[in-house]
């Protein structure tokens, strides 16, 4: 279960240099995990980045209430959960229609499952190597260089749906490949 929402502190306590360092260390270490956690709740990587940025500010301000030695990820996912829920409640921003019940279900299951992300990352790395050069180029353009599919379509003189179809095929191929890799590793 997601714990009760932490209440904002009107005057955040000052953080010692050691506590500031601890915050950066903890957040840095947990960032990749938290981004995946939030993405599951908001359905889009860029929305997830924005939500996590806002959550990071809240964490910074409330870090005085975090007890060193306890589970930072559990604490941080709680903060991120409420930021994601607030994001989804603002009409017109969200790209998914998740009600509170579904959000709670996703959060509960994801909070545990997401800790296994490094193994999936290793598998993904292997699977990306298996893509065709043209597929890797498309992944690179969209995920690294930040080129919008519509722009690539324009440059190539193709319909944008053609680009989406290619991208969809790649995503599915990678998902199935990672599933196979994970199953092999577990057997």
């Amino acid at each position: 279960m997601v714990p009760e929402e932490p209440q904002p502190s009107p005057t955040p306590p000052g953080l010692s240099p050691e506590r500031q360092e601890l915050f950066v260390r903890e957040l840095n270490g947990a960032h990749a995990l938290l981004l995946r956690y939030v993405l599951s709740l908001v359905g889009n990587r860029h929305d997830a980045e924005d939500v996590l940025q806002r959550a990071s500010v809240v964490m910074w301000r409330r870090f005085g209430t975090f007890e060193p030695g306890t589970d930072f990820i559990a604490w941080a996912t709680t903060v991120a959960f409420y930021e994601a829920r607030n994001f989804l409640r603002v009409a017109g921003r969200a790209r998914v229609e998740f009600d509170d019940e579904l959000l709670q279900t996703l959060a509960d299951e994801r909070a545990q499952q997401v800790r296994r992300w490094p193994a999936r990352m290793e598998a993904l790395e292997i699977c990306v190597e298996k893509l065709e050069p043209a597929q890797r180029e498309l992944v690179d353009a969209i995920y690294t260089r930040g080129v919008e599919p519509a722009e690539i379509a324009r440059q190539q003189g193709r319909a944008v749906q053609t680009l989406y179809n290619k991208l969809n095929f790649i995503r599915r191929a990678l998902a199935e490949c990672v599933q196979r890799q994970m199953a092999e590793a577990a057997s």
Binding site: G14, Q20, H31, R36, S40, H46, W60, L102, E109, V178
Partner: protein
């Protein structure tokens, strides 16, 4: 799950990730995720891959000298506990394709990490724990940032500072550059200015050159137009107050308006009678002026005042390297002020007094004329950076045997009955040197 069902799920997830899902598809996704644990697991995997592709490609494309994305460090950290050492150095929190292009100009030794001068990168969020990093944005704005820093580059002309101390030199191209902190929004009007958000309770804003507009966070009405040599502190409870003194050398470019002075400083704080009483302060335009304490800063070419371009020259050898207080010019007409200097150790305390006017009684009574002078190179703004006059200032000396506060007076003893009898001089100078 048969193949058709599997295909439907993949299509639904892709539509959402592409940002083109219809309302019907969005509802279908919600229904599916509510009803199927297996679908939720696949949804999670799609999320992992979506993040992973961005991180993987960023890592594979990044030059060896450029900061790796967070996942890179996290994976190595999981592989080896020793990787924790890395976290104490400089590292990027994450990369975003919507980040801002920048070039690293300098990295302090204490910012041990993977950046070095000359690196270029694109980043939106940066965090590091120790040390100082200087960078130049694509907009031409130069930033010097002291850790612990939590930054978001909203765009080439806007920086959000969650924590950290930033000195910005915006140049001509960077006019309009904005720095936002949890308490303030600072809009540059062509200047060099500093923003210190290293405390979670307040933000300090100081202007070293030019002019900025200062707003409280979320407010439409401007809190202040700050000019060179002026600064304000805005606290979490929205209380705003004058910053009385700023400590820091020009060479390092570092500065602080906090209470804790550098360990080697002889002059540790400066205050005046205009900061204690709000009613009194309202009467004077000096409300927002700060004194600049520069440890070891006195020498030929040293700026004489915090709010002007005048410089000291012909500084006697014995005074070169002394701690210096840059007073501010607007006080030069003030005949009732008291200025208090906090000294950390026994020292020689010096004041520089304009020779053209009567020597104030507090100088005559408590100091000894050394018979030497220092020259004020008078550079009024209308002179376009040229020296308009060279004014000799007499150097008066006093030995202070014990650490503590020393109170100084005003440049004039009394209100001038006939202003024409006084030359419109500048404020006096203050310096201190440790006793041998």
């Amino acid at each position: 799950m048969n193949d058709d069902t599997r295909t439907e799920w993949h299509a639904l997830f892709n539509a959402v990730l592409n940002g083109i899902a219809t309302d019907v598809e969005q509802r279908q996704l919600a229904t599916l995720l509510k009803s199927s644990a297996e679908a939720r697991q696949l949804w999670f995997l799609y999320g992992d891959n979506e993040c992973g592709l961005a991180e993987l490609n960023a890592a594979s494309r990044a030059p060896a000298t450029v900061v790796r994305p967070a996942f890179w460090t996290a994976r190595r950290a999981l592989a080896a506990a020793a990787a924790l050492v890395f976290f104490l150095g400089l590292s990027a929190l994450w990369w975003s394709r919507r980040g801002v292009e920048m070039e690293v100009l300098r990295v302090s030794e204490s910012a041990v990490g993977r950046w070095k001068a000359g690196d270029t990168m694109r980043a939106r969020h940066l965090t590091w724990v120790r040390g100082t990093v200087e960078m130049r944005l694509a907009s031409g704005v130069r930033l010097k940032v002291e850790a612990p820093a939590v930054l978001e580059f909203v765009g080439p002309m806007e920086l959000r500072v969650v924590a950290g101390k930033v000195t910005a030199d915006v140049g001509e191209a960077g006019k309009g550059f904005v720095i936002e902190t949890p308490e303030t929004r600072v809009v540059d009007l062509g200047t060099v200015f500093g923003v210190d958000a290293s405390s979670t309770a307040r933000t300090d804003v100081v202007v070293f050159k030019g002019q900025v507009e200062l707003f409280q966070k979320g407010a439409k009405e401007r809190l202040a137009l700050l000019n060179q040599g002026e600064g304000m502190r805005v606290e979490k409870n929205r209380r705003a107050s004058r910053i009385v003194s700023v400590t820091g050398s020009d060479e390092s470019g570092s500065w602080s308006a906090q209470e804790r002075p550098p360990e080697n400083a002889i002059i540790t704080a400066v205050g005046d009678s205009m900061s204690a009483n709000d009613e009194e302060a309202k009467l004077w335009p000096s409300l927002r002026n700060f004194y600049r304490i520069v440890p070891g800063g006195l020498g030929d070419g040293a700026l004489a005042f915090a709010d002007a371009e005048d410089e000291w020259s012909n500084v006697p050898d014995a005074l070169i390297g002394a701690d210096q207080v840059r007073t501010f010019v607007v006080d030069s007409q003030n005949w009732w002020m008291k200025l208090t200097v906090e000294l950390s150790r026994p020292c020689e305390l010096f004041v520089f007094v304009d020779q053209r006017n009567p020597v104030p009684h507090w100088v005559r009574n408590e100091f000894t004329d050394t018979g030497k002078t220092v020259t004020l190179d008078f550079k009024p703004s209308q002179a376009g950076g040229r020296v308009a006059k060279q004014l000799p200032y007499a150097i008066w000396r006093r030995v202070v045997e014990k650490p503590g506060a020393v109170t100084l007076g005003a440049p004039y003893d009394n209100p001038p009955a006939d202003k024409r009898s006084f030359n419109p001089n500048r404020m006096f100078g203050v310096a201190a040197k440790a006793l041998r």
